[in-house]
Amino acid sequence: MLDSRTIELTETPPLAAAPLRGESKKGLGIAAMAQLLTLPGQIVSVLVLVVPLLVALYMSFTDWSPTRGSLFNAQFVGFENYSELLIWDTRFLYAVIRTVLISAACLSLEFFFGLGLAVLFLREFRGKSILFSAFLTPMMILPVVVGYTFWMLFQSNGPINQIIELLVGPRGAPEWFRSAPFAIVAVVLTEVWHWTPLFFLILLSGLNSVPENPVRAAVILGASPRQVFWRVVLPMLKPVIIVAFVIRSMEIIKLFDEVFMLTRGGPGSATETISLYIYKLAFNDFQLAYGAAAAFIVLLGSLLLIHLLLKPVRNQLLEVSR
């Protein structure tokens, strides 16, 4: 039931702060228990996340590359990497802009199609559960396979072009991977195919938990189905929609696998996303320190963005979390 209690982003109150009357004296107390349980998670997080992050952070202030010996002897260059990236590196700037634009396009389309499908699924028809499963299929497929499949589909002699030529004539079909705008469209379409089911899933679950009586009340007051949807239902979906957008945007700015298989970032750098650029910096050009700096800029940027986007709704979300 989406009475907002299903959206929880922060803490829950602890189990009885004081020991219970009959609680066995053997075994561990509360504080010890809390420590014990969360310790493995914290160890893993620290070891395998925090430590590498700190190493990367340190590295981003040096000009180190593997050819220059040990990392710990690397030359400290202060904010040079960062200023280079932010001021001079147009390729980085373009990668960021490109990623943001592709993300915006994908998110809007995924939301639009996902909502449309979800609304359709509010009605009754036979085979509903089988069709539901079928529509979820794309998001269960590995991103590399999705990239690979659409790479095949968008080939010049592939089925997509065959259909286009049927409609537009023998020379009408584009060379998807040879021209920048078409390559970007191909990336967007691939991503939209891959992840629309997630919006569909989340929005359908949200729509199904909209309480019936307010909807009925609106109809009794004379509202048309359209008015009911826009004025009553959609506002109630707001928390769900926000969750969907936040989750998807966190993932889509890291877009890598599909683009790698589809275009490798090409033609040229036309479809180079941030992740691809960092990958190239680090593993093609071995500019690891520079790449690390780029990664931190991206991290800070996304944290800032999410903070700013969530601000207006933060109060709503926090006050209703358990």
């Binding site: 989406l2 982003l9 922060t10 803490e11 829950t12 109150p13 189990l15 009959g22 066995s24 075994g27 809390a34 014990l36 349980l37 969360t38 493995p40 998670g41 914290q42 997080s45 070891l47 395998v48 996340l49 590498p52 990367a56 590295m59 359709l120 009754e124 028809f125 069709l131 079928a134 529509f135 979820l136 299929t137 794309p138 269960m140 497929i141 590995l142 590399v144 396979v145 095949m152 002699n157 592939g158 089911p197 997630l198 899933l201 679950s205 949200g206 909807v215 009925r216 989750i247 700015i253 890291k254 696998d257 790698f260 298989m261 690891l288 990664a295 991206v298 991290l299 944290l303 999410i306």
Partner: protein, 287 residues
């Protein structure tokens, strides 16, 4: 009220069109996987082979099998990568769920360690993997973990820990505290209460989380790409190799590997369908 209307004909048509769009790529890749080599480079591309064959699948494990069609052998067998994927995914999933389970109980029942804990764990998801890979490579090369499954599994555990923790936390939240308190009043220690009472009650959620993390690990590409040289290989890496190594013309074999990769996920995905929303949204939305 909204739920009683039936699907009108034009809308049914729309849904049918959507269905075609959704399933067509899957159809295509399956068809390609059963195309004999003669059909691979046809122009325009063939939609369904007239003589479907399973040779591509055989070639994955026996690289020279394809030669009987007069085509050069495949550079590499996929066997190692299949085992690699299975091994890494299973181990990483088990560890991630285990650690996540305890963290989930800890966070659900005892509050966060600090307000920052959720932020720390969630921000792990926001960092571009390519960037995390960089320090990993450096650290691992200093401790001899590059090109090893240990290193790969460690990364997989770290990266999926947010999902497993938060998804399991939402399942633990669903269990009323009174049940554990009753067990404690009965004389059990806190730990035993959690182990013997709470965990059995979230069996279904535990299964769903495990399957979900498995999907994430099985699908992972970038870290495997960066960390594998000769010892380590996973299916996604192998697929990329098939595509780049042969300039992309071994369509059939590539597609066969892709189909092989998809099958477990589709099965698992359907099995946990009712929990997918919970997994994807870190437990925020329950179906």
């Amino acid at each position: 009220m909204m739920h009683t209307k039936k699907l009108s004909f034009p809308l049914a048509l729309l849904m049918a069109a959507a269905l075609v769009l959704v399933l067509f790529p899957v159809f295509w890749i399956v068809m390609t996987a059963i195309k004999p080599p003669t059909d691979w480079n046809a122009s325009p591309a063939i939609w369904a082979p007239s003589h479907p064959t399973l040779i591509n699948f055989r070639t994955l494990f026996d690289p020279d099998a394809i030669r009987e069609y007069g085509v050069g052998g495949v550079s590499q067998s996929a066997t190692k990568s299949v085992f690699g994927s299975i091994f890494a995914s299973v181990m990483a999933t088990a560890l991630s769920v285990l650690v996540g389970l305890f963290s989930a109980i800890g966070i659900s029942r005892y509050g966060n360690g600090s307000r920052a804990t959720p932020l720390i764990i969630l921000s792990g998801r926001m960092f571009p993997p390519a960037a995390i890979a960089v320090p990993f490579v450096i650290i691992f090369s200093n401790v001899g973990l590059t090109d090893s499954y240990t290193g790969l599994i460690a990364i997989y555990v770290a990266v999926t820990l947010p999902f497993s923790t938060w998804m399991l936390k939402s399942f633990v939240d669903d269990v009323p505290r009174e049940i554990e308190e009753a067990a404690m009043i009965d004389g059990r220690s806190r730990l035993m209460a959690h182990l013997t009472v709470t965990i059995p009650l979230i069996r279904g959620g535990l299964f769903a989380t495990t399957m979900f993390i498995f999907i994430l690990n099985w699908s992972e590409f970038m870290f495997a790409l960066v960390l594998s040289y000769s010892n380590v290989s996973t299916i996604p890496v192998q697929l990329a190799k098939y595509v780049t190594a042969t300039a992309g013309t071994l369509y059939g074999v590539q597609a066969a590997l892709a189909v092989l990769a998809i099958v477990p996920l589709v099965i698992v995905g359907y099995a946990i369908q009712s929990h997918l929303a919970r997994g994807m949204t870190f437990g925020a939305i329950k179906q």
